[in-house]
Symmetry: none
Subunit: 339 residues, 6 copies
Amino acid sequence: MALVPNEAIAAEVEMGADPSTVRATVVQASTIFYDTPATLDKAERLLAEAASYGSQLVVFPEAFVGGYPRGSNFGIIIGNRTEKGKEEFKKYHASAVDVPGPEVDRLAAMAGKYKVHLVIGVIERDGYTLYCTVLFFDPQGHYLGKHRKLMPTGLERIIWGFGDGSTIPVFETPIGKIGAAICWENRMPLLRTAMYAKGIEIYCAPTADARPVWQASMTHIALEGGCFVLSSNQFCRRKDYPPPPEYVFNGTEDDLAPDSVVCAGGSVIISPSGTVLAGPNYEGEALITADLDLGEIVNEKFTFDVVGHYSRPEVLSLNVRDHPTRPVTFTSAKTEDSK
Amino acid sequence: MALVPNEAIAAEVEMGADPSTVRATVVQASTIFYDTPATLDKAERLLAEAASYGSQLVVFPEAFVGGYPRGSNFGIIIGNRTEKGKEEFKKYHASAVDVPGPEVDRLAAMAGKYKVHLVIGVIERDGYTLYCTVLFFDPQGHYLGKHRKLMPTGLERIIWGFGDGSTIPVFETPIGKIGAAICWENRMPLLRTAMYAKGIEIYCAPTADARPVWQASMTHIALEGGCFVLSSNQFCRRKDYPPPPEYVFNGTEDDLAPDSVVCAGGSVIISPSGTVLAGPNYEGEALITADLDLGEIVNEKFTFDVVGHYSRPEVLSLNVRDHPTRPVTFTSAKTEDSK
Amino acid sequence: MALVPNEAIAAEVEMGADPSTVRATVVQASTIFYDTPATLDKAERLLAEAASYGSQLVVFPEAFVGGYPRGSNFGIIIGNRTEKGKEEFKKYHASAVDVPGPEVDRLAAMAGKYKVHLVIGVIERDGYTLYCTVLFFDPQGHYLGKHRKLMPTGLERIIWGFGDGSTIPVFETPIGKIGAAICWENRMPLLRTAMYAKGIEIYCAPTADARPVWQASMTHIALEGGCFVLSSNQFCRRKDYPPPPEYVFNGTEDDLAPDSVVCAGGSVIISPSGTVLAGPNYEGEALITADLDLGEIVNEKFTFDVVGHYSRPEVLSLNVRDHPTRPVTFTSAKTEDSK
Amino acid sequence: MALVPNEAIAAEVEMGADPSTVRATVVQASTIFYDTPATLDKAERLLAEAASYGSQLVVFPEAFVGGYPRGSNFGIIIGNRTEKGKEEFKKYHASAVDVPGPEVDRLAAMAGKYKVHLVIGVIERDGYTLYCTVLFFDPQGHYLGKHRKLMPTGLERIIWGFGDGSTIPVFETPIGKIGAAICWENRMPLLRTAMYAKGIEIYCAPTADARPVWQASMTHIALEGGCFVLSSNQFCRRKDYPPPPEYVFNGTEDDLAPDSVVCAGGSVIISPSGTVLAGPNYEGEALITADLDLGEIVNEKFTFDVVGHYSRPEVLSLNVRDHPTRPVTFTSAKTEDSK
Amino acid sequence: MALVPNEAIAAEVEMGADPSTVRATVVQASTIFYDTPATLDKAERLLAEAASYGSQLVVFPEAFVGGYPRGSNFGIIIGNRTEKGKEEFKKYHASAVDVPGPEVDRLAAMAGKYKVHLVIGVIERDGYTLYCTVLFFDPQGHYLGKHRKLMPTGLERIIWGFGDGSTIPVFETPIGKIGAAICWENRMPLLRTAMYAKGIEIYCAPTADARPVWQASMTHIALEGGCFVLSSNQFCRRKDYPPPPEYVFNGTEDDLAPDSVVCAGGSVIISPSGTVLAGPNYEGEALITADLDLGEIVNEKFTFDVVGHYSRPEVLSLNVRDHPTRPVTFTSAKTEDSK
Amino acid sequence: MALVPNEAIAAEVEMGADPSTVRATVVQASTIFYDTPATLDKAERLLAEAASYGSQLVVFPEAFVGGYPRGSNFGIIIGNRTEKGKEEFKKYHASAVDVPGPEVDRLAAMAGKYKVHLVIGVIERDGYTLYCTVLFFDPQGHYLGKHRKLMPTGLERIIWGFGDGSTIPVFETPIGKIGAAICWENRMPLLRTAMYAKGIEIYCAPTADARPVWQASMTHIALEGGCFVLSSNQFCRRKDYPPPPEYVFNGTEDDLAPDSVVCAGGSVIISPSGTVLAGPNYEGEALITADLDLGEIVNEKFTFDVVGHYSRPEVLSLNVRDHPTRPVTFTSAKTEDSK
């Protein structure tokens, strides 16, 4: 793997940055599918590289650990699923990570070693249900918490569970308030508003959507939320997935050529005024880096503060049920829940 | 006035359109400032022209009738305002229209004469308070209702009052469900969600924002709402406003050259998939027309229905207080109010 | 700074006051603009001086901490704002205080040290939106609560958010029931009536309006509410603000002379019968003090009790929505909110 | 009677006034007590004189017809009343006027003859209950309607009934929207707000309060309501009432000297900016005249519109029950009532 | 104080009464004016004495606590009031009781100690407005609720506010349904009908009317309502009020002789058939006691049930608005209000 | 028949009375049972006599024409009635009068001949249903209208129908506003209030109740309504009814002695202050006359106006359905009804 940092960005990123400035990197790279230890090794290499440029924050794509099973249909047709599909799911389940668990410990250690804030998409295993989750770590090597995707898209609803209101965190850190929304969650206006209300300043958008119109949403969110938006997507070719027949693409025997691009990336960093600071990159795996001047936020909020002076709470008010919802609750656990 | 219809559009717009298709025009033209009768004459000419191309829906910019007092500051500084500023306001107040009132009657008659749905930005006068309002008319010549801007931006807060939840209409018409959000209201996620919940299909966005980033928001809304977005802005030069000293631009003696472009337009029509159907036009006054295939909406909603299968109401719920709020209510008027 | 207490008042204020009498001081002094620590130092000196005369209650002007940006227009014109204006707002935002926060702690400590009830106008920072707020402290050094201005005037609407019904407090204290309305809020009859209904006895009116007609409103409120009215305004010269070009007055290059009076004060104390007890002072910075005989209230209410025997609730009734209104509510915070 | 028009006013009032200007006169004169026909004759002479100066609107004091029984106590003590007091009331009842009735017809005819809008305080007799009422007439000689005092003050509560919400009219006339509040009703903020909501432009305040603080309330109302305020009070000497023992003043044998001033007037006309246009006159009977430039209203409302852009209806809302309230309703009369 | 129980009654009242019989006492005694603690002491002595005869219900006169300011006129004449009158009101205001408040607690404790139902007239202080109120307590020492006089008579309108429909209670107790109407409220047919509709059985009529015609009304009400009527009035001499000049009687220097009877009592107990069971007593302070045979009620209702078989609801129907009416309502208090 | 006018009254009634005074007579005399022509002859003699004293108004008892079937039970037991009872009813039905009809014409002629206002109780026949009715005539010999008893008492409900809201008239006449309530209708507070609302000044109470407690109700009504009350009852001995067995008294063979008094009269005239002007007479047949000083009404209403200043319509309001109610309505008659 030879990652080329986006050149334009490299020029823009100078050493000795202003203390009110945060250097941030979005990682555009592919999972090593069905091989979680190798994927974690790759994550560490990328992290090390970003840290070497002075990055204080590194954002990985959706499902980087565990993988985004692009092109698969898990043998599902309405009313049935194949044995082969069941086998696929068993492998996919095995690639996921428990939270907490040893893989999470390893990610925390990495963040601490390279002294970066780390935001990374994983497939979380909670018993027999999987979740599309983003984990947050601080430079001291602590696991901070997680966001579970609230609403999977299309076929994702077959393989992932749905998050609830208790995992929409925004963490206050020394480099600003950080949170994440995954892929088409970014098209959910009420979810975004919940995050705006928590004061998000660095809005991470790990995704799997590489279409050009994705850029419009990223720019819009930066304007709407008055925040920096960091969107990170995988860049994958067919060969980044196992070859057929182990892994069948698009449910067809006539598979794609190994070098076919199956996810074109488009990772990008945008400022609160809607200015593109770095990216979008549709060329290959890359580290995309920019310096975020947090002082720009007040400039933009002066004219538009979506949950402040530009809201009309007496007309429009959003209610966020952020208690955990569980199918079964044991009364002995209630005290803990209410904390 | 010699308006040239956007050529690309003209090619795309063929006669004998599909019955499930709606031909729509957004008008990009300037108010004749301080002259409401002349502005209405101009509106009629533009409407006639659009109708001659077969348009069924015509959308005019924000404040087309009454005017957008760009560049003025009404002599206001913190803690004071000049006599000249008060005089300016008196003229501006005089240019506004009562709803209902004779100008509204004239607009209704125009819509009926040219058999179009008409959506038009006006400055509404309600006693001594003005509102930035959009009026809706049907091809039978009826006034349907109005939307009042909920939250004016910046200095607008000095000259316009604030709407409430009772004027966020979406009208069910033979050509689809039509509503409007004005300028930076389009950046209010809760307001948009209220309109999505009312089932909006043709989302009109009269605006005064001609910056390129505006396009990102329009595309995002089309994707988020799964609706057609029709954004209409004025194209104005300095000379479309009265000359100094009657009207001072940017609070400075050294005014702009008469031909300076002070609002560059950027009117656009976008489909639910985020495809730009016509525009944006930054060249001059124009009629921008496209055929809207309403069948595209279901295509997009299949994968993303922001208030349907892609919502999470048990976690995120929006409350819209849509009763009128009035400082004083007379009980004898209640029957009338409840109409 | 050499503050001369109003002489007529000094004579009137004798030591050994009646226990049913409250000695109150309104402060007429200027913010040290863009320098909040120095402004707090000045507040402490003024407080100490008032306490040395035996004052039990000290009322500071609107925006004393944070400053009233008189003469500025923050570079705003309709549809635009200058970069310089944005910079100004950034500085103004930086001068504001979080509530709670370190400046509030310092003010509480001052009130405790000098054993006075303290009512003081501040610019409150809540995320990226500012509010024009009055804070209340008791002589034991506790912060009691705050009032946020409900409706800013003119250009203030660009720089300050709008309060809601949850911050219209009237505090029951050993020296009477105390509340505050800021500047032209005092012209809002429904707001005043809400405060009368809460039983206000000492009505504080921090203001920025130095016009002679302000006195009429103060006298009227004393009569209407049957309460003492204490109006406190800044006395400022041009030189109390930064010099140009850092701070531009009246949007003009030809700035005012440094000694020009830009806010003439007019602070005053009025009894429930409409008698002026002290002030108005239009001469300079001053402490204006009077003894308030709370027994006068019942005398006046005997003939006119605006929310008692002189109301007609079956004909005219006011509804005050005093729950907090927020664009987003998190259910986990509800218990806390309802306190 | 030799009425001298206020000289300063006479100078100010020039012929050939601007068409947007209204010439208005407030009458400061005494009732001829217990002699209603003579009082009506006097009203006609005053009206004729005002009309000869070109007045379009003439406002008479509270209770001009029927009389304000100043200084009397109708022999009432708690738990008892004297026979003499009952006799006094019988005479007072006889001096009152039925509405409609012959005296009202005469007043209507006068208004028509002199072609003025007439606003006049009367004592209205409705069966055995009296009301302190203001009647309105147009220059075509039509009776327009009435306002009944909602809440009498002090001893007035013994002799007058209480109005309800159905008689708080504001009449739209060619010279502006006219209404009236009587004496201390002007201190009822909710009543004033009801009138503001009806769009009052010419606010008449017939009164019996001649204290200097009354002026503050008048100025405040002009500012608060953004309207012209015309306050009319009687100027009476002891001798304008019957001599003792028929009419006893202040419940004492030692009556006042015949020339003692028992009501000093103070009639005044104030503009929406709080500027005193004419009066207050404390010298004697007088006609006080000013030209009202209705264009000033929009100037003032631009910055403060108490029921428009400066209201906060979602926080503070007033309910006015303006249906007639009657102890007994006959269903057969309902159609008539609902008119 | 040497109270002699009415002898005829004493004979009639035998020990060991029938269980369906209620022994009731009406107290005829004077307030100790301007001395509320002493008045409460006196109330306790009277209660103890009544309880010693076996009384289960004790009814005190109107305004027993706080006092009925007979003969005073609070210095009021039309259009003015004296300083002395204002001072009188201040003292009177100070003698009133807050509800709830310490005096109410003491009364509740008394009722509990002597195990009687207690109905007592008080002057209630609600902020600066006073109300003429009757309080109800049960033998367990609980405060049950209150009735506020709806419409004060004559000069009372100057010193007391007006009750509303929310305080017309009838309490269901083990000894029957108990309510109260005060003084001339008993002449309000609609109010009585409201109480009949609530099923009143023991109708208490605390009063200040000692005229013989009062007896006719009491008998009529017993017949009309088919209920027991217990009327309690004070017996006062001039010397029960402070001497002049502190307290001036009948507004005259030539005051009454100290032993003059200024309120002659006339307290009485009447059965549903119109039979006088005890009293009227016009001799002096007294406890007037009778045994009420509740079985008589059904006898009378058999022939005349005013809200039952003898009503004509399809022709005559009374509407009672019994929600509280308040000039200002705070939404946060609504839950509390609805209790 | 030798009628002796009540002597005390005769003395009181002097000739040449005050023009504001009305001389009124209540007739206390018995029907000639089962002989309507003879009863009418007797009525004429009594009328002539009253007129000879100068009476302007003459009031006859309940059921004077047609008779009050005292002591009879019409053979009714629950579930059955005797043939004899049916015969009795047939005779009673025959003695009644149609309205209009020849007896009504005769009564009208009498009133015209003697130039008196005549109010007289009759049994009205409407098909096969009888009503207990009062008829009104003017001195010009016109029949004015009727009042039908709304609710018969006890056994009356078997022989008389129930009136409705359309026959509760109050007639405006030159001698005042006159109406009537019959017997225990006078105990219906809502009915009385309806009549008070119509402005009744001369309240006639034809009755059959001769118990002493009746006096209390009459006095109370005078006070409550602020009106003159004229109660007229029959004075009857057993012998005024047919002898047994034609007419059986009290359902017993052992009939009463012929001279037994079976209705003791008690007719009375009371002033608005509750003063008994004439009667009650329990001695025999009599004409009871008094002069009514209508000016007393205003004296009493000054302190208590039950439907004016002493009402609380916003709390207590009475609805009177005064349209005729009929079991069958023919649409062709509707226009007439709605007049």
